[in-house]
């Protein structure tokens, strides 16, 4: 998989209620086919729940369509989608725990896909991190976003990202090591 740089959308507001749907259905389908799986992977690893990830995924596309955002190309629209998805995740975690940004408790309800947590050592390690750390690491090392882009998506200062990313990476490495993976070993 070749990660793609997250070029920032040029519009200022993410949610622009009251705009008409400007994209045609075929273009939407093309964008969906191209972006939905990686976006769901991001959402799933960030929230740890497949059903919730699917809900947020649909909401992200719906908001993008309703915003009337056209974008210059599919990459531009994809980046916009990731920002919407990140905002949705942030809203979700705020609603769940208004006073903290801690790791969400695992959902033991029947609809929860336990397999997502247990799927791999990486999934288990990521589940131990704070949501923001997960999002930051994913955007940086899977999506290839720059510090500036991560800062925009997460609502943080660009200057803080490098050190925050460094600490998040250390925490993840520690969790991976606790699961038997070592820095000397490369995961294929």
């Amino acid at each position: 998989m070749i990660p793609m740089a997250l070029t920032l959308p040029r519009t200022q507001g993410l949610a622009l209620p009251g705009r008409a749907v400007t994209m045609d259905e075929e273009a939407f389908r093309h964008l969906y086919d191209r972006t939905a799986r990686p976006l769901r992977a991001y959402l799933m690893r960030s929230c740890g729940d497949l059903a919730l990830a699917d809900d947020l995924l649909q909401e992200a596309y719906l908001r993008m369509l309703r915003s009337g955002f056209e974008g210059e190309d599919d990459d531009h629209r994809k980046n916009y989608l990731y920002r919407i998805a990140t905002n949705l995740l942030r809203d979700h975690f705020r609603r769940k725990r208004p006073e903290s940004d801690e790791v969400p408790e695992r959902d033991e309800s029947p609809g929860h896909d336990q397999a997502i947590h247990m799927r791999s050592d990486v999934g288990g390690a990521m589940a131990e991190l704070a949501p923001r750390d997960r999002q930051m690491l994913w955007l940086a090392y899977v999506e290839g976003a720059s510090h500036h882009e991560i800062a925009k998506a997460l609502g943080l200062r660009t200057a803080s990202i490098r050190s925050m990313l460094f600490r998040a990476r250390q925490r993840l490495a520690k969790q991976l090591q606790a699961r038997g993976l070592r820095p000397e070993l490369e995961v294929s």
Partner: protein
């Protein structure tokens, strides 16, 4: 081994993603805990991303998303198109209220007098003349308009 920010991070990240390690960079990674950790994290996340992207569970159907967006768009267009009507209704309500307040003291006698003299047994074609007062017709019409406006505004808010 050191654990701090390293100037080789970008090169190591790119190499960890692509798997193309130069001998120098590999040597650096083996002696730098930061870059060794970075390699582990990047490679682990790449593998995890591939796993998650290949998950068997089908994606949500995009058609309902598209239809919901179109429906919402049409609702907004409808609201925009009917905005003028709503304003006229609001104006009618305001006029009805203003007239009601202005004429309230004398109006009751006029209305009660008109209704007391109303002969309900007369035939429909004669009704407007029997009702008599154009003012009463106007007031009743405004009240009806006002009630309609209230109804429309309430319905608009519910939507």
């Amino acid at each position: 081994m050191k654990t701090k920010l390293c100037s080789h991070e970008e090169a190591v990240t790119a190499a960890a993603r692509s798997g193309n390690w130069s001998p120098e960079l590999k040597a650096h990674r083996d002696g730098c805990l930061t870059c060794a950790e970075l390699t582990l994290v990047v490679a682990a996340l790449a593998a995890d991303a591939e796993d998650l992207a290949a998950i068997d569970t089908p994606l949500p159907d995009p058609v309902p998303i598209w239809l919901r967006a179109k429906l919402a768009s049409r609702e907004r267009q409808y609201r925009r198109a009917t905005r003028a009507i709503v304003w006229v209704q609001r104006a009618a309500l305001a006029v009805a209220v203003a007239i009601g307040i202005a004429f309230a003291p004398g109006l009751w006698e006029l209305v009660s007098g008109a209704f007391s003299g109303l002969d309900l047994s007369i035939s429909a074609p004669n009704l407007p003349r029997s009702v008599g007062s154009p003012l009463l017709v106007m007031v009743v019409s405004l009240v009806v308009l006002g009630l309609l406006a209230v109804f429309e505004l309430t319905a608009a808010r519910e939507n």
